[in-house]
């Protein structure tokens, strides 16, 4: 505790006075756009081409704000005798951002990488119904999704890459093993070709 009475009061005044002389931290938002950190949760964008209408996102959404309509389409068989296949076609994909609580579960559960976080945030309106955005808008927002941030230098390689690399290595090895065997039949041919 301070020994001089009123020292605490003076200290309070000093703090505010010092703050006044420093630069303010206000951001001039409408003129100066903010620099958002990567992975900002602005809005959810839809990469429509990837969507298979598996409905996982709509089912996992805690506040049921994703609306999906679809119909089945018959794809005729490519080869004669084979069965016709059916395919899901997306008719409507809408997210009600008035309900959405930006938990990101839909982005997490999507098995086909059709949903992404976009840093876009300037979609406020004065009409609550206008906050339900259809798939066209959601697809448009896809353009604002930044490229995934590079991995940390010392991070473990993603499994897909590691697998691919391993497969490639295996293939290369097989090829190498195959080559000496194949050289004998080929061998006379190439000198012959040379000559």
């Amino acid at each position: 505790m301070s020994r001089i009475p009123g020292a605490g009061l003076a200290k309070g005044l000093a703090v505010t006075l010092k703050t006044m002389t420093k630069r303010s931290v206000t951001q001039g938002y409408p003129e100066v756009l903010p620099e958002l950190p990567p992975r900002s949760r602005g809005v959810i964008a839809l990469f429509e081409e990837n969507c298979t209408v598996c409905m996982l996102c709509a089912r996992e959404c805690p506040d049921w704000c994703i609306y999906i309509d679809s119909h089945k389409e018959v794809v005729p068989a490519k080869e004669p005798g084979a069965r016709d296949r059916t395919r899901n076609v997306l008719d409507r994909f809408a997210i009600d951002f008035a309900l959405c609580m930006y938990c990101g579960i839909c982005v997490e559960v999507c098995p086909f990488d059709a949903l992404f976080w976009s840093p876009e945030f300037e979609y406020a309106t004065d009409d609550i119904q206008a906050l339900t955005h259809e798939k066209d808008t959601l697809r448009e927002w896809m353009w604002t999704v930044p490229a995934p941030p590079p991995l940390d230098e010392r991070a473990e390689e993603p499994k897909e890459l590691a697998m691919a690399r391993r497969n490639a290595a295996k293939l290369a090895k097989e090829l190498e093993q195959e080559q000496p065997q194949g050289r004998e039949p080929n061998g006379p041919a190439s000198p012959g070709g040379d000559a």
Partner: protein, 319 residues
């Protein structure tokens, strides 16, 4: 005084009453902003938002005037005027510069000013009661309790200066003023200024309008222009308090260099005090009701009485 002169003085008082509170309000916006690491208003009027309060005024004037169904309409409507006008009347007695640079020198100066300023609280009381809202009523009760606790230290401190000068007239007090009155009346000055702040319900003494507890005290139900007038009364109150403290305790227009520049000194000192008012608002948290009462009765009043004794003894000793 000719008719023209009277009209000029009235116009000047009205102009000061309308302009300076706005200047103080705008300064408060900006100073408060920067003290909180913000920039404050920035758009209205292009240059650092200087026209913010003008824009606010225009906005207030266009807003609907809602009188609650349960309210006592006539009293409700009259209250802002009662809160506002006393401060304007007080302005006429405050000397700005040496000689005749005063609305009108009044013989009972200090006493007149303190008496008239005390009337303004009736506005808050009326507004709080007529709103038919329990938060408003609580706010106005707190206002009254605060006024009654802090009017007394103000009176005592004012009396101390009157003793020092041997006159009640504000111009007379300034005529007698010497530089060594500054340390001599310092305690009285602090008491006067603090009590004045409390009477204006400025933070840290803003218990009567504590928005986190009782919405906005007596002004909860007010909208539009009537609310704006209550706000104007608060800022006019700051002007009057700072000007009075300047005149009574800081020597008013006395200052180095020519006496012709006296009005500048008055404005400067008043401005510095107004800055202090804003500064205190930003720095301190609100006092609790019991702390308020305790500060007045066990802090300021004994201090003011001690100042009276000091003033009396010194005055008789040098006589």
């Amino acid at each position: 005084m000719t008719v023209v002169e009277v009209l000029v003085r009235l116009a000047l008082v009205l102009a000061a009453f309308l302009v300076f509170p706005l200047v103080i309000g705008q300064t408060e916006h900006k100073v408060m902003g920067h003290m909180q690491a913000r920039v404050g208003p920035i758009y209205a009027g292009a240059f650092h938002g200087w026209a913010q309060l003008v824009a606010d005024g225009v906005k207030f004037a266009q807003k609907e005037d809602v009188v609650p169904a349960g309210a006592d309409r006539r009293v409700f409507r009259l209250a802002p005027a009662i809160a506002l006008i006393p401060y304007m009347v007080v302005l006429i007695a405050i000397p700005v510069g040496s000689g005749d640079l005063v609305g009108r020198s009044i013989d009972a100066g200090v006493f007149f000013v303190l008496a008239v300023m005390g009337v303004g609280v009736l506005g808050s009381l009326m507004g709080g009661w007529a709103s038919a809202n329990k938060f408003s009523l609580l706010g106005s009760l707190r206002t009254a309790a605060q006024l009654m606790a802090y009017e007394l230290p103000m009176l005592l401190a004012g009396a101390s200066v009157a003793m020092a000068a041997g006159t009640l007239s504000l111009t007379g007090i300034l005529g007698q003023w010497e530089w060594w009155w500054l340390p001599w009346q310092a305690v009285g000055g602090v008491v006067f200024f603090t009590a004045g702040l409390a009477e204006l319900q400025r933070p840290p003494f803003d218990m009567p309008v504590a928005d986190s507890e009782i919405i906005f005290g007596a002004y909860t139900e007010y909208t539009g222009l009537r609310f704006a007038l209550f706000l104007l009364a608060e800022y006019a109150g700051i002007l009057v308090l700072c000007a009075l403290t300047t005149v009574l305790f800081l020597g008013g227009w006395h200052g180095p260099w020519s006496d012709d520049l006296g009005w500048l000194w008055t404005l400067l000192k008043t401005g510095v005090l107004a800055f202090v008012v804003i500064w205190l608002r930003v720095s301190y948290p609100r006092l609790r009701e019991d702390q308020l009462q305790k500060l007045a009765w066990t802090g300021l009043i004994p201090l003011a009485l001690a100042q009276l004794v000091l003033t009396g003894v010194v005055r008789v000793a040098i006589a």
